[in-house]
């Protein structure tokens, strides 16, 4: 993916750049609001990572609002130290697609950036069916089949699996699952998400030879096609 990082702190910026390039992405950088806005409007990016408080008179929300006013729908992830719920709401209202607060774990940022990048791709048209390897989800009948065999899942398990399947091949963090599948925005002290995922595994992976849901250490989970595993 082609990414733009607008961030004034060089340490954080370089850290993100390095991490993204290691993960195989192409990334441009801007250290202030003016350069950031210039790059954002003149180049085509898959995702823009935007700091909110920037030097140069133009802050992150200004850039975001300018972009959206120009009918530019590039997914934007706001990265900010302003962590209040109200600030988050302000960011989302200004047109951002996701909001990550500092300090952040790189794995979380990467997972969210990749989730956003996928969303912008054309294959994300309304679908009635998702297939990942031997797994297929019928979104209308809410049915799960693997190798043609029907797997019975609870409605919430279906939503969990659907979210994983929509982001197949991408890391999905626990926070993302809690936010997107359950719509909860807090940190449970107990490992609620792990338990739900492990239950899902019992149904989706256990009776079969090769697992689909994999745990990514220090990050979250990934649903990967069992067909091209090893290749």
């Amino acid at each position: 993916m082609r990414l733009l990082i607008v961030e004034d702190d060089p340490t954080v910026r370089n850290f993100i750049l390095k991490g993204l390039r290691e993960s195989g992405h192409v990334a441009d950088e801007a250290a202030n609001g003016k350069d950031g806005l210039f790059l954002a409007v003149s180049e085509a990016y898959d995702v823009i990572i935007l700091d909110r408080m920037l030097p140069g008179g133009i802050d992150g929300l200004n850039i975001l609002e300018t972009l959206r006013a120009q009918d530019n729908h590039t997914p934007v992830l706001v990265l900010s130290a302003l962590a209040d719920v109200d600030e988050r709401v302000a960011g989302l209202k200004a047109g951002s697609d996701d909001y990550v607060t500092k300090p952040f774990a790189f794995s979380e940022l990467l997972a969210r950036v990749e989730a956003l990048g996928r969303r912008s791709s054309p294959e994300n048209a309304p679908r009635t069916n998702i297939e990942v390897g031997t797994l297929s989800l019928d979104l209308l009948a809410r049915e799960v089949r693997r190798d043609g065999k029907r797997i019975l899942v609870q409605p919430r398990e279906f939503r969990l699996l659907e979210f994983l399947a929509r982001h197949a091949g991408q890391v999905v963090t626990r926070t993302m699952l809690l936010e997107k599948v359950w719509d909860y925005h807090f940190d449970p002290q107990t490992n609620v998400i792990d338990v739900h995922v492990s239950r899902l595994r019992q149904k989706v992976d256990k009776p079969f030879e090769r697992p689909l849901i994999h745990t990514v250490r220090n990050a979250g989970y990934i649903l990967r096609s069992d067909l091209d595993e090893g290749s």
């Binding site: 909860y184 449970p188 002290q189 107990t190 490992n191 609620v192």
Partner: protein, 522 residues
């Protein structure tokens, strides 16, 4: 009138009147030269007093004058109708005779009569010629006439007789202006007295007002100096309305200040520990790590420590933010039944995994006005705690019910008449419970009971629940569990707990009380 119109008419007139009133009051507010409220009150009082006195006196004056006038007019009309009757029975001669008789009998000499022929010659009466002003026969004339000794103010009325004769009947009204003069004088004196009284009253009002405000000002000044324990004394008057509000505000400021102090103490004390740990780990790795593997491990642990510190910071900031009451705009009606069932669904898996049983007693409940995310988080915190402290094979209960809540002692609910309805959400666990002394301190930041020292956590969970309850004008109550004995019948959605499997632990029962409609919210 149809009801729609009845409702519409006053609304429309109000709509037209309101901007005018607003503009007027704004104008007055901007251009009113007096900056003292006490003086303004006094002036308004004096003004109202004087204006009403003037209105009262003028009304009396005008009424008395009119009464006298009426009296004279009545006498004239009466006299004339008598004379006209005489003319009708006895003709012109009889009338002249009656006139003569009356003039002779009129001792005060204030009656005036004149009868003239169609040609204008006087045929009787006590004045010599017809006054030129008296042309019509429809009304009373007030004029000056030469009569008796000299010029006299008189009131006259004329009648045309069918044969062309004309009759004039009148009364001497020299007493009337005199009367008016006396009355006017008396009223002017009255007015002077009224003005003096108004000034005196205004002075008293101003003094009283200043006295009232001084009590509030003294207290607030003391508070501003830093004495947060002072409160405005209540005296049972209307000023208590202000006093109670200010006192409540002071209590809140006091609480916030204490909270800030407590947070800074807590940060100083409790955050140093994980920071020190992280730092030590990194320094130790930098000095002593032999392999890159060791170094990586140390760094990873330090990162975990940092994450923990961040989590504590976030929780602290969130509590402080909630306690400051900043997040009221997210309040909306939400259904607690759905909310709790959905939370139970999230946590059921964890409890089962931990060998615990989660029982749900949630009947269909009406909507409550709340911040849905906050309430979810509060209940989630309670469930987290319950899971953390329950021994294996224990049972956790999540129940909810409606209760009538008596008016709170803090006065928060005093505005509503009588008890208001509240929602009680209770999480009961089968854990070791809490000492009563600990329960009182459990919601303090970073407080951890001795028994809980070894478990993971920051001691902020209940503080957050407490803050969320406070934001909703509710409260959090802790009590011993007495597991399995529900003191209220509830719709049982699951099987009963089997008491045989329960270990003999007191358990903890945490109840979140939320008013159905938070006071002061719409």
């Amino acid at each position: 009138m149809p009801p729609a119109q009845a409702g519409k008419a006053p609304h429309r007139s109000k709509g037209r009147l309101r901007p005018v009133m607003q503009r007027l009051s704004r104008h007055l507010h901007q251009h009113w030269p007096v900056r003292s409220v006490g003086l303004t009150f006094a002036m308004v009082y004096g003004g109202v007093f004087v204006v009403s006195a003037i209105m009262f006196l003028s009304f009396t004056w005008w009424n008395t004058a009119r009464l006298l006038n009426d009296h004279i007019e009545h006498a004239i009309t009466h006299d004339a109708s008598d004379l006209l009757a005489r003319w009708a029975t006895a003709g012109s001669g009889g009338l002249s005779h009656a006139l003569r008789l009356r003039i002779e009998q009129d001792i005060g000499g204030d009656a005036i009569y004149l009868l003239i022929s169609p040609q204008g010659q006087a045929e009787g009466g006590n004045i010599d010629r017809w006054p030129v002003q008296v042309a019509g026969t429809k009304r009373f004339y007030q004029l000056s006439l030469r009569h008796g000794g000299g010029e006299m103010p008189v009131m006259v009325h004329s009648w045309a007789l069918p044969d062309g004769q004309r009759l004039l009947v009148g009364r001497d009204v020299k007493a009337l202006p005199m009367m008016r003069k006396v009355m006017t004088q008396a009223f002017l004196w009255c007015l002077l007295m009224v003005v003096l009284l108004a000034l005196g009253g205004a002075l008293i009002v101003q003094t009283l007002f200043r006295h009232m405000v001084t009590a509030v000002a003294r207290t607030t000044a003391a508070i501003a100096e830093g004495d947060l324990s002072r409160r405005i004394p209540l005296n049972g008057s209307e000023t208590d309305l202000v006093a109670v509000t200010v006192n409540r505000m002071l209590t809140r400021i006091d609480k916030l200040m204490r909270g800030v102090r407590q947070v800074s103490n807590a940060i100083a004390h409790d955050l140093r520990t994980p920071i020190t740990r992280a730092r030590t780990r990194l320094e130790d790795a930098a000095l002593h790590a032999k392999t890159t593997q060791e170094l990586h491990a140390a760094i990873e642990e330090a990162v975990a420590d940092c994450d923990h510190i961040t989590a504590i910071f976030d929780a602290l900031l969130r509590i402080a933010q909630i306690e400051a009451g900043a997040r009221r705009q997210a309040f909306a009606p939400a259904n607690p039944t759905q909310l709790l069932r959905s939370l139970a669904e999230l946590y059921e898996a964890v409890t089962e995994d931990a060998g615990l049983k989660l029982l749900l007693y949630v009947p269909e409940l009406p909507d409550i006005v709340c911040d849905q995310h906050m309430v979810s988080q509060a209940v989630a915190n309670l469930l987290d705690n319950a899971i953390k402290f329950s021994p294996p094979h224990g049972t956790i209960t999540l129940s909810a019910r409606l209760v009538r809540q008596p008016p709170g002692p803090t006065g928060v609910h005093a505005r509503a008449d009588g008890p208001r309805q509240a929602l009680e959400i209770t999480v009961t666990d089968a854990g070791p419970g809490m000492l009563p002394a600990d329960m009182a301190r459990a919601t303090a930041r970073f407080f951890r009971a001795e028994a809980a020292r070894s478990t993971p956590g920051s001691g902020l969970g209940l503080s957050l629940v407490h803050a969320i309850a406070g934001l909703h004008h509710g409260e959090i109550r802790l009590a011993s569990g007495q597991h399995g004995t529900m003191d209220h019948p509830l719709e049982n959605t699951r099987t009963d707990p089997s008491p045989a499997t329960l270990p003999a632990l007191p358990g903890l029962r945490a109840t979140l009380v939320l008013p159905l409609q938070a006071p002061g919210d719409h």
